[in-house]
């Protein structure tokens, strides 16, 4: 995850509290999504950014996960996400991100 984005997420968590934040991912590759999810839960696994060794434990989802889809108006989802839902490996993305959420989310 981009180092500056890591810094912004840390700052937001400190300002408004981790319990009020949900991180929504859009990464296309399951491996990248997994690293991003790990970064905002257990900490940056690459040890390159601000979140290295900082387990924020945030709630994190991928946009294609069923919990998020249920929250979005169907017509909006159809207009904005339906194409990518057909393109992406939804099962693997869901598995990777939900695994990190279960392991590292505090909220």
């Amino acid at each position: 995850m981009d180092l500056q984005i890591q810094a912004r997420i840390k700052e937001l968590a400190e300002q408004i509290g981790g319990e009020k934040i949900v991180v929504l991912l859009g990464a296309a590759e399951p491996d990248s999504a997994s690293i991003a999810a790990e970064t905002v839960t257990l900490g940056d696994p690459t040890y390159a950014g601000t979140l290295a060794g900082v387990p924020l434990g945030l709630s994190v989802y991928h946009i294609v996960e069923p919990e998020i889809k249920a929250e979005v108006a169907p017509n909006v989802y159809e207009e904005q996400i339906a194409m990518m839902e057909m393109v992406l490996d939804v099962d693997r993305l869901t598995a990777e991100v939900s695994k990190m959420r279960q392991e590292g989310s505090k909220f």
């Binding site: 590759e29 491996d31 990248s32 194409m83 990518m84 057909m86 393109v87």
Partner: protein, 508 residues
């Protein structure tokens, strides 16, 4: 309609520039000068022969067709093509030592110094080069002592030019304080200028156009040349044209991150369509910063450092000749400011909207050229197979439009797509690298229509979160050279008669 009258595509093998000046390496050197990455990277750099034998590079310079590349099983990097050649019908793969000589030749401000022995060796090689042989070889000069070069590099007032461990030259800073004229920036800009000049010379040869017939040059590389008072003042276009002998041309630089070439092509085609100019050259040179961009991931996976070539291209856009493929100007796909940034909205704006306007289906277009990055360069870094993902997106739009079924998505890419093969040089993969292949296929009557989709990530410049993109439809020329009604005595007489008749009708 404006036509694509000529193409040229070349690469420069630049493993030492990668090692010393690529942005990934430069950042690592600042943060962690003793990093274990550097000795590993050094071991993973490819030889010139390996880069020439690499199938995607042979496809880039036109020695193998893209359809044939698709048939070669991956990985490509562990095998060398038997009939590989430095020279191809689109251009060449230039070795780094000759390229250093070319940098010296194009240097207008005495910033480049080559070591005397090295300079003599390179001169002997360039004298034999079909295109460089007659161009300003005297500008190579006699060269200087190695000690003098070492002193400048040691004082951090110059960037070294290396062949392995040997320091063979340097590029000096052009100002003591101005960062936009630092040695690093001057090296980047001179590389862009030199590689662009090479590919424009190749375009002149390939197209057969007289250099004096070129009216305008639109340059669309990745760098900005200027000074601290105007960072991107410009202009590379005229600097390149000066080297290539385009004495009757003016020009400008156009930028748009990876979408730069699409904007340049649209501008060039518009100038020709409007009749302002007859012959416009579009040129994009190599980007030093992106050499070895994913090097850490490739080295970690024990692969060669594959991003070791600078990519270049040049196109000649001319008035309709009744032969060459033409660019449709009646419908342009464009990502508007209000389009939104979701991939679906972007692709709808670039693919569906223009085709709807034309009354065509997505499946009516024979071939789509998207972001054509070589997947071997991006997959190790977790970015996946970029062209394949793009083809899936277009196929998904076709599913949503009811043109194909969902199980047909993989087959859509096979039928309407091409394999990724371009180096990750930012602007180079974005739509344009396929034009050489497609132009040939159209001239041979094998492809009738293509859509070139260029996309760019404007948010990288931190001025806006907007995305960007342009798409152009290119078609086989039906052979009609003349456009519009011919004005002669007879047509004028008819027009006057019709106007009088309308007037008479109005008076009734």
């Amino acid at each position: 309609m404006p036509v694509i009258k000529g193409v040229a595509y070349s690469l420069v093998h630049a493993p030492n520039i990668l090692f010393h000046n690529g942005s990934t390496q430069a950042m690592e050197r600042i943060k962690n000068p003793n990093s274990e990455y550097f000795p590993k990277l050094r071991n993973q750099l490819r030889s010139f022969d390996a880069a020439v034998g690499y199938a995607p590079n042979q496809a880039y310079i036109g020695n193998i067709a893209l359809g044939d590349l698709k048939a070669i099983p991956r990985p490509w990097y562990d095998k060398s093509l038997e009939k590989a050649s430095r020279f191809g019908k689109f251009g060449e793969i230039m070795p780094e030592d000759e390229f250093y000589g070319l940098i010296k030749i194009v240097d207008s401000f005495d910033l480049v110094i080559l070591e005397a022995g090295f300079s003599a060796d390179v001169k002997a090689k360039l004298e034999k080069h079909e295109l460089i042989g007659d161009v300003n070889l005297a500008r190579l000069g006699a060269g200087k002592d190695a000690a003098e070069i070492q002193k400048l590099v040691g004082a951090h007032t110059a960037e070294g030019l290396y062949i392995g461990d040997r320091l063979v030259g340097c590029v000096r800073q052009a100002h003591e304080v101005d960062e936009t004229l630092s040695a690093h920036v001057m090296l980047e800009n001179l590389v862009t200028k030199a590689s662009s000049a090479l590919v424009v010379l190749q375009l002149l040869r390939n197209s057969g156009i007289n250099p004096t017939d070129v009216d305008y040059i639109i340059e669309c590389s990745e760098e900005a040349c200027g000074d601290m008072n105007q960072r991107g003042g410009g202009n590379f276009a005229k600097a390149i044209g000066e080297i290539a002998g385009l004495v009757n041309a003016n020009g400008c630089d156009v930028r748009g991150f990876c979408a730069g070439p699409s904007h340049a092509l649209l501008n060039a085609a518009s100038l020709v369509k409007s009749g302002v100019f007859e012959n416009v050259v579009v040129v994009g040179g190599g980007a030093v910063a992106k050499l070895g961009m994913n090097g850490k991931d490739q080295v970690a996976k024990n692969m060669p450092a594959l991003e070791d070539v600078l990519g270049t291209f040049a196109l000649l856009i001319s008035k309709n000749d009744g032969v060459n493929p033409y660019i449709r100007m009646d419908v342009i796909g464009k990502h508007n400011i209000g389009t939104g940034a979701s991939p679906q909205q972007v692709m709808k704006a670039l693919v569906v909207d223009p085709l709807t306007k034309l009354g065509r289906k997505i499946t009516d277009i024979d071939c789509y050229s998207v972001e054509m990055q070589n997947p071997e360069l991006t997959e190790p870094a977790g970015a996946g197979n970029v062209p394949e993902a793009n083809y899936k997106m277009i196929a998904a739009l076709a599913v949503m439009a009811g043109e194909i079924g969902r199980p047909d998505i993989p087959a859509f890419g096979e039928k309407h797509g091409l394999p990724g093969f371009a180096p990750t040089q930012g602007h180079i993969p974005s739509g344009v690298p396929v034009l050489g292949y497609v132009r040939e296929q159209m001239l041979a009557g094998k492809i009738n229509s293509m859509m070139m989709v260029g996309k760019g990530s404007l948010f990288l410049g931190r001025m806006t979160n907007l995305f960007d993109g342009l798409s152009l439809v290119i078609e086989k020329n039906p052979g009609v050279q003349e456009e519009g009604p011919q004005l002669n005595k007879e047509t004028v007489r008819q027009m006057v008669a019709e106007a009088l008749r309308d007037l008479a009708q109005g008076l009734k």
